[in-house]
Amino acid sequence: MSIEDEIRTLRQIPMFRDMEVSKLKLMAFAGQRITYRKDEVLFDQGAASDAVYIVLEGEVDVVRSGGAGDVLLARLGETELIGEMGVLCDKPRTARIVAHTDVQALRIDKMTFNHIVQQVPQLAMAIIRELSERLENVNERLAARGK
């Protein structure tokens, strides 16, 4: 997989859709493509949020540990962006990410990601849009519970 393939994957992520190709290319280039074996951990719950990950190939499990043991929250596949909230809000990881299959992921470290967000207004707008949508979803769910 070359950087051109990675850019094609990035373009499919809603947050990056409106970005110029050159900036997308820069983001991919600044990232590190990493191959994980099945069951390898991308990051742990509670760890410092030091990077965002984009799944290029394969699937990962989002697992949360608590009093009741490990709970599988979701299984994410190709084109999924992971860990961006922790990076943007400077909060520790809220879940553990484990490779469900062999996985190829693009890792973009925090400094680079934040820097590109500052450089690219379209990306900042897309993040605002994404966060607003998530907030709206939460509100709707809360409202539905209240009924």
């Binding site: 997989m1 070359s2 950087i3 051109e4 990675e6 050159s22 900036k23 290319k25 820069l26 991919a28 280039f29 600044a30 590190q32 493509r33 990493i34 191959t35 994980y36 390898e40 991308l42 410092a48 400094m111 680079t112 820097h115 590109i116 450089q119």
Partner: protein
């Protein structure tokens, strides 16, 4: 320091000045004689006045009546008489030259010695400034004053008393000689001298004023240039290069105007001076000639007068120059002294007595701190800090906690109220005593160029070595020490040991590194030091056993990688395989360059290297790869401002070279392609290709046939460089220690995989274990501590710089440690660890920590909570 340059010179150099003056007096009879002899040559030898009365010969006593009897009786004919007189003249010329040489050398050395003293004292004066004054000066302005502005003062110092004495006596001798020959000609010469010495200084007053303006403008210009250099990243970030350059242009314009005026004035004065000195011979020829023709002056006297006058204008001119220089230098000296005035000094009281320094509480009474604009930063705090105790200062950023900490750390001394330790006022405590008692570390640490070790032990440099020049080991050393004493500098040699080992709690230099490492662990810098050590090389003095240990550790490392299922994280070097995680350049060279890594660009610029690539059929593919990299880099970084960190971290091409590469790409001719480019452009593109790593950069530019060709080219490079260049490359050999490769490369003998998760982290721990088991841990630490931090520590990140500053404070075991804003450099979790470790290290001593939000204050003996400039709560 003395406020008058003459007092300064007389105070520190009167003995030497008097010695040189005596030498000048000693030279005068010879000078007089050298004026007298030409007259005698003309009158007595050439015109034959000595041979009056038809004598064929005269006794030698006719030359001088002081000749010894044996010589006086020798008879000389006219030709012999001429040669003897000419020989005496030549001898006197040589003697006068020797006197001049000796006087000038002594004068020059005296000037240099005084310049050295002046600079030394100025730096000493600056280091006595109050902290607020230190912050208000521009470094480049101080540097300009100490280095450049005192230079002419130094030049003048050697001349201050000697020049007027030397030139004055010389001119006076010549003048008296002329008067002695003929009163009228003497008066004529005197008149011209008077005109010169009255009119020219008047004309030069304006020149002095302009010189002073030039000095101030130049100093400000140097200060501004310093600011531009320091602030270059901000200028580049905001794209304000034209503005900044234009501002420099304005200053240069002002300087130009002053300098142009100076030149006009200078050459006008020179014109007048030349005119006067050249008009005099005209008068001598005409008036003197008239006297000679009318028999009132003989020809010899006229020749002597003209010869004497030839010697008169230069001393007079130089005396006038000296007078101007005196005016100029006096102003310069006064101006510099004004900048280093005592009113800027910190007040110094008595040092605290030892017992009080150790145990007395810190009393803060009505402490109030304001900034330069009068804004209150801290409002009337009165409190008592018991010792030993640990005190936390908390409050939002911008509250009084930082001002409180800085006042306690002696970073601010111009406050109202008082801080006392025992009976001593903290602000007035002598610097050396305060340096022993307390340490301060803030958010803006100051590192010096040098190793990490040098920076950490900097705080221990307080045992002033004492040296006796008489006990020096060599003549050079003795001269060095004697000169230091003569210039009022400390009498020490460069390699002298200043370290206060007792303060660090060790018995000598052998234990120091261990102590440094323990402090480095407290500030959580040990992994950084170890990593830097791994990237360094064993020095040339490393023992063979140590080298062999490293080769053995390499085998052990390979074994541990295998057994720990970590083999895939390191791709080993193999002579017959392409290493995908190494650059193309590394794969071609397949070894370490003995003279250090010249970088891809230098290798590519080497015509011989490119010729080898061409022979191996690699030139075209590498040019193609370079072209693709250049195109993609230019596309990606288009619009990214110069100086942006992304450039530093990721770009193949520096922001400053972007335009050059754009031109290179634009000059590629259509169909013929990159091979038609000139050598420089080709070297640029090949340089990019040599730095390419497929798994890292992922442009899919290296395929299997190319890998094979690169591996095949290794032998050509070996033959070419290993033979013709006498082994410039040390090729990788799994069984040999590689002196020019880093410890990490020696140990791993391969490259970490770019595409595997946390390869460095996983292998790192293993590397540490293997090195520690091989007994190389200390060597790695020592190399890491020897890492050069760069100017002002710029080779390190903010966290590392802050950690070194904290380590520097801890190593001297201060009785009181004040921390302000330093922990912000760490991430919160690590910051908490560091605080706990520092508290542990400061157990039984006093710690005052200004804490960022989110830090626990449990366990502190006292907590001061600030809100705005006030202390809100005291627990």
């Amino acid at each position: 320091m003395e406020q008058s340059v003459f007092r300064f010179v007389w105070k520190h150099s009167r003995r030497e000045q008097i010695a040189i003056l005596l030498l000048i007096l000693l030279s005068l009879p010879f000078y007089w004689a050298s004026l007298e002899i030409p007259k005698r040559i003309v009158n007595e030898a050439l015109q034959g006045h000595a041979f009056q009365g038809g004598q064929e010969t005269v006794p030698a006593s006719a030359i001088s009546r002081w000749l010894p009897d044996a010589a006086a009786g020798i008879r000389l004919d006219q030709l012999q008489f001429l040669f003897v007189l000419s020989g005496i003249y030549l001898f006197l010329v040589l003697v006068n030259g020797a006197f001049k040489y000796a006087i000038n050398v002594k004068k020059g050395i005296l000037g240099e010695r005084m310049l050295r003293r002046l600079r030394y004292e100025l730096v000493g004066q600056f280091l006595r400034f109050r902290p607020e004054e230190v912050r208000s000066v521009k470094p480049a302005e101080v540097a300009s004053m100490v280095k450049d502005e005192v230079e002419p003062i130094g030049g003048f110092i050697g001349d201050a008393f000697i020049q007027p004495a030397f030139l004055g006596t010389q001119a006076l001798t010549a003048l008296i000689f002329i008067v002695y020959q003929n009163v009228w000609l003497g008066l004529l010469a005197l008149l011209i001298v008077l005109v010169q010495s009255i009119v020219i200084p008047i004309l030069r007053r304006e020149q002095v004023r302009l010189g002073r303006e030039r000095q101030i403008a130049s100093r400000k210009f140097a200060g501004r240039i310093g600011e531009i250099v320091e602030g270059a990243p901000a200028i580049l970030t905001h794209g304000t290069v034209p503005y900044s350059q234009a501002e420099v242009g304005n200053r240069l314009s002002r300087l130009f105007t002053i300098r142009a005026d100076l030149f006009r004035r200078k050459f006008a004065v020179k014109f007048l001076s030349n005119l006067l000195s050249q008009i005099t011979p005209f008068l001598f020829f005409s008036v003197g000639g008239y006297f000679a023709l009318t028999g009132r002056l003989d020809l010899g006297q006229l020749v002597a007068v003209i010869a004497a006058y030839r010697d008169l204008p230069p001393p007079i001119k130089e005396l006038i120059d000296w007078d101007q220089q005196k005016a100029d230098v006096t102003v310069k000296y006064q101006q510099i002294m004004a900048q280093f005035g005592e009113e800027r000094f910190a007040r110094e009281g008595q040092p605290p007595d030892q017992a009080a320094a150790i145990a007395a509480p810190i009393r803060i009474e009505g402490l109030q701190v304001s900034d330069r604009l009068g804004t209150t930063l801290l409002e009337a705090v009165t409190t008592l800090i018991q010792r030993p105790s640990h005190i936390a200062l908390v409050g939002p950023p911008g509250s009084g906690r930082s001002a409180f900490a800085r006042a306690l750390g002696r970073q601010i001394t111009g406050y109202k109220g008082v801080i006392r330790i025992g009976d001593s006022k903290l602000a007035e405590m002598p610097g050396v005593a305060a340096g022993r008692l307390l340490a301060f570390t803030g958010a803006d640490p100051c590192l010096f160029q040098g190793s990490i070790r040098d920076n950490i032990v900097f705080s221990l440099h307080r045992c002033v070595p004492s040296r006796d020049p008489a006990a020096a080991d060599s003549k050079e050393e003795r001269t060095f020490l004697e000169e230091a004493a003569l210039s009022g500098n400390l009498v020490i040699a460069p390699g002298d040991d200043w370290i206060d080992y007792a303060a660090a709690g060790v018995s000598g230099p052998d234990e120091l590194d261990l102590r440094i490492i323990s402090v480095v662990e407290t500030v959580r810098l040990q992994d950084d030091v170890y990593r830097l050590g791994l990237l360094g090389r064993l020095d040339d003095g490393a023992s063979e056993a140590m080298r062999q240990s490293l080769v053995a550790a390499r085998r052990s490392m390979a074994e541990r990688l295998r057994s720990g299922d970590l083999e895939r994280y390191v791709e080993p070097f193999h002579p017959a395989h392409y290493n995908a995680n190494a650059t193309i350049g590394e794969n071609l060279v397949f070894g370490a360059l003995l003279n250090g890594d010249p970088g891809e660009a230098s290798l590519a610029a080497d015509a011989q290297y490119r010729a080898v690539l061409a022979d191996a059929g690699l030139l075209e593919p590498l040019l193609g790869i370079g072209r693709k990299i250049a195109e993609t880099t230019i596309e990606m970084f288009d619009g990214v401002p110069a100086g942006d960190p992304l450039f530093e971290r990721y770009s193949f091409i520096g922001s400053e070279a972007m335009d050059t590469y754009k031109r290179t790409l634009a000059s590629i001719p259509g169909a013929a392609g990159v091979q038609e480019l000139d050598a420089d452009d080709q070297a640029r593109l090949i340089g990019l290709a040599l730095g390419y790593i497929e798994p890292r950069h992922r442009f899919r530019l290296v395929d299997d046939p190319l890998r094979l060709r690169i591996v095949a080219a290794r032998s050509r490079i070996r033959d070419s460089f290993g033979g013709a260049r006498d082994g410039a490359i040390e090729f990788y050999d799994p069984d040999r220690y590689m002196p020019s490769a880093s410890i990490r490369d020696n140990l791993l003998f391969g490259r970490l995989a770019f595409d595997l998760p946390d390869a460095e982290g996983k292998v790192w721990q293993l590397m540490r274990e293997v090195l520690d088991a091989s007994g190389l841990e200390q060597a790695v630490h020592a190399i890491g501590l020897g890492y050069d931090v760069g100017p002002a520590g710029k080779q390190l990140d903010q966290r590392q710089r802050s950690a070194i500053d904290l380590a520097r404070c801890l190593i001297k075991c201060p009785d009181v440690l004040v921390m302000d804003g330093l922990l912000s450099a760490y991430d919160p979790a690590e910051g908490r660890e560091v605080l706990a470790a520092v508290r542990c290290a400061m157990h039984g001593r006093t710690l005052v920590a200004s804490l960022p939000d989110g830090f626990e204050t449990t366990g502190f003996d006292q907590v001061l909570t600030f809100q705005g400039p006030r202390v809100k709560v005291e627990r």
